[in-house]
């Protein structure tokens, strides 16, 4: 092994890496917000009384869970603008469309996984609770909002946290549609300097610190959410 490591290139190109980190954080945080909202709505829809609503939500979840994210991103990036009127298409293309497409891709993909977690969380709540709430005169929405969801939230936080971590890691796929996030910048440094090893080490360390930070924050949220809970002795 006669490879000479040159870690100085990282310092030379630090601005690229920092710019990439900024984009990764923006991309991930916007997508996390959207996918959580979509995921909760779809998760509830999967348990709706109306069969048509249920069918729509199931089809959405199954389709997006079972296709590769990269194909979905290509679809939103290449195919979606073709279906839009020309003026809107050109407006999108001149307004950083690759970023928008990657947000759409990440949000929809992750929302279908979150929907599954939410559905499982709601189903884990004992049926008697729902029946009791309804029989005390609460409406269906009130039962959901005041009785079921607050309990389901505790069950659902750990799997949703996992999905957030996956989303951050998956945001690296945005490089395939030329969003200049960390992976993209690491590859750019590689092509400027042929120092792939050093560049990808730096990017990997950045991802690991990001995921560690998020899982630390989420463990705090989890502790906060279960604070009011009584200790249940089985």
């Amino acid at each position: 092994m006669n490879h000479q490591f040159n870690w100085a290139v990282l310092w030379e190109y630090r601005e690229l890496l920092l710019a990439g980190l900024k984009i990764t954080i923006q991309l991930s945080s916007i997508s996390i917000v959207i996918c959580t909202v979509l995921g909760i709505i779809l998760g509830i829809m999967r348990l709706a009384k109306n069969a048509l609503v249920r069918l729509f939500a199931s089809a959405y979840v199954e389709f997006f869970v079972n296709t590769p994210l990269i194909i979905q991103m290509f679809f939103w990036y290449f195919a979606l603008p073709m279906m839009l009127p020309e003026t809107l298409r050109f407006w999108l293309w001149s307004h950083n469309y690759e970023f928008i497409a990657s947000v759409i891709g990440l949000s929809i993909y992750t929302s279908s996984f979150i929907a599954e977690a939410v559905r499982a969380g709601i189903q884990a709540i004992d049926k008697g609770q729902r029946e009791a709430a309804l029989s005390t005169g609460l409406s269906g929405f009130q039962t959901m909002w005041y009785i079921i969801l607050p309990q389901a939230v505790r069950i659902v936080i750990p799997p949703i946290c996992n999905q957030y971590l996956n989303l951050i890691k998956n945001s690296s796929l945005a490089m395939t549609i030329a969003v200049p996030e960390i992976t993209f910048q690491a590859q750019a440094i590689e092509s400027y300097t042929f120092r792939g090893f050093e560049a990808f080490t730096a990017a990997t360390l950045i991802y690991i610190s990001l995921t560690l930070t998020v899982s630390f924050l989420m463990s705090r949220v989890e502790r906060w959410a279960s604070k009011g809970q009584r200790a249940v002795v089985a």
Binding site: N66, F75, M82, K169, S171, T183, A203
Partner: protein
Amino acid sequence: MSIDVITRNIPYLYEGFKVTLQLAAISITLSFVFGTIFGMARLSKYRIISIPATIYIEIVRGTPLIMVIFWIFFLIPVLIGHPIQPFPSAVAAFTVFTSAYIAEIVRSGIKSIPVGQVEAALSSGLTYWQTMRYIVLPQALTKMIPPLVGQFISLFKDTSLAYIIGVMELTRRATIVNNREYKSFEIFTFVALVYFVVCFTMSKYARYLEKKRRVGEDHRTEEKYTPANA
């Protein structure tokens, strides 16, 4: 909408689909072997074995797959002194990545077996390997099958990332057709459906297995621990 862009390119895309299947099949086999080893290593009582296994698993699980693909693609040439083909490089990357996830499945599968069984097996004179081979792994395996199928579905979807280093699999061929024909909607919808059919079938099968396992468990008459019979 024009369907003929698909029909004209089906032979070309089919070649890619075969590569996708090969990538997935080879990688899952290797990942299963290495994942089982790493999963057992993480549970080892010798720290010199368990700590490296834990570090490996946690680092890989905190890293995006694209990173692992780039790593292998740039690291192996440095180690062996000459560049390698994209296909073996992709297989190596998927194996390194998926092994870490399978290791966690194996670990929780093994941990779900009551300690009493291991103790009983060891005290009846079986060695560690015999206990693993005849007592723990056969039981753990049935519990592991649904998550393993899930992992295989993920891997099948993930093979699309081999596109980045130039493996001529389904996704790469789809982008080539797209660049040539400029019919993005038809092409990507079609390719998405191909992936969907394979993955959806597998996930239905996983759910069927899961259901079967649960049914099997319910029929067992084994007494469960409750405060009443303690």
